[in-house]
Amino acid sequence: MRIYDAGKIFTGLAIFIVLICAPFWLSGGKSSSPPEIKIETPAIQKLSERRCIEATAYMKARHMELLDTWRQAVVREGESVYVGSDGKKYRMSLSSTCLHCHSNKDQFCDRCHHFEGVEPACWSCHVVPGELKG
């Protein structure tokens, strides 16, 4: 059996394989370090019990689902209060409730979102209290 242009084909294949594998070789087989998320803000430091509206594990994994339910309830059902599993009541508002404690959006929300490559469109309309200039 004879392969036409074998030299060119195998050179091409070699380049292809090197390019595809380069990211893994260059990182030495390790995964990149997760982003450092800062939760220390003046509002959080003042809390007597350092707990978000639900348990941390739940908030980490499911906050997007929670926010989606909030959006549906506030916009479409006209309901504005969330009663957490501990019975505490919160106003369902991204800018006023979430960002009241997490006032460091760039070190909290953004760092993880950048790392994960997700681009939530929240901030094209919802106002980040620090960025007030019109």
Partner: protein, 256 residues
């Protein structure tokens, strides 16, 4: 035991009942359920409506004050270009407010004055009918609201609305907002917007911003409650609705 058709059906029926009861029992047993509720201070009505008492607007400054209070509360941009303007509440001439009503003998004072107009929160809203994504919908209390998350900017609603109550965001509105109210979202390029009867304020027990700023010229209340302020005015005064003949059943009434 010999299984008959009758015993089989009995067992099957009871098992089905059992399966159906499980979620119910789970719901009752779960003490740590989270809930989403209305704020206790929220204002409620069967059918929200507004009366615009034009006799109480003494000057254009009164109108401007009311418009400014709404636009400040809702981050409505001041674009400047009338072709691209965004407005929730604005003024129109008599002949545009009540077309077909003006004639040669209409008093000059009425012909030449500006009328306050806004979304009519129709009972039969054409904007809701045409919206392909249900971004615009009518709540049970009659308020016609927009869900900006769903708006795709097709502008069918702008064509459907006979009152021109809707504006399109041709560009990012943020640079055109003088002072951003952090408590209310701005809009983004490519969505339609309009008056929402201050549903976000009603949910927190507050009257609409324009009503608060109007010194009694705008009256807000429950249309279905004859004892409400709106109900009392409508039963004792002659009121007009805009373009009544189109059958959209506006819920903003005018005293001239």
């Amino acid at each position: 035991m010999k299984s008959t058709r009758r015993t089989f059906l009995k067992v099957a029926g009871v098992s089905l009942l059992g399966i159906g009861a499980k979620p119910l029992l789970d719901a009752l047993a779960g003490g740590e359920e989270t809930k989403i509720i209305q704020a206790p201070e929220a204002l409620k009505a069967k059918r929200w409506a507004m009366v615009v008492d034009m006799s109480k607007f003494k000057s254009d400054a009164d109108l401007k004050r009311v418009i400014a209070s709404c636009h400040r509360a809702h981050n409505v941009p001041d674009i400047g270009d009338p072709k691209k303007e965004v407005k929730w509440i604005w003024t129109e001439m008599y002949e545009h407010t009540f077309p077909g009503q003006h004639h040669a003998y209409t008093p000059e004072t009425i012909k030449n004055r500006l009328f306050l107009v806004l979304c009519n929160h129709c009972d039969n809203p054409p904007c809701v009918r045409v919206c392909p994504t249900k971004a615009t919908f009518r709540r049970d209390d009659g308020i016609v609201v927009m869900d900006m998350h769903r708006c795709i900017g097709c502008r069918f609603c702008m064509v459907a609305c006979p009152f021109g109550a809707r504006s399109f965001n041709w560009k990012d509105p943020r640079p055109f907002i003088r002072e951003i109210n952090p408590d209310f979202p701005t809009r983004t390029k490519g969505v339609v917007e309009k008056c929402n009867f201050c549903e976000e304020r009603l949910a927190r027990g507050l009257l609409p911003a324009c009503v608060e700023a109007s010194d009694g010229a705008l009256i807000f209340g429950d249309l279905e409650d004859p004892k409400s302020e709106v109900g009392k005015i409508l039963s004792s005064h002659y009121t007009l609705r805009r373009k009544n003949e189109l059958g959209t059943k506006p819920c903003v009434f005018y005293i001239i």
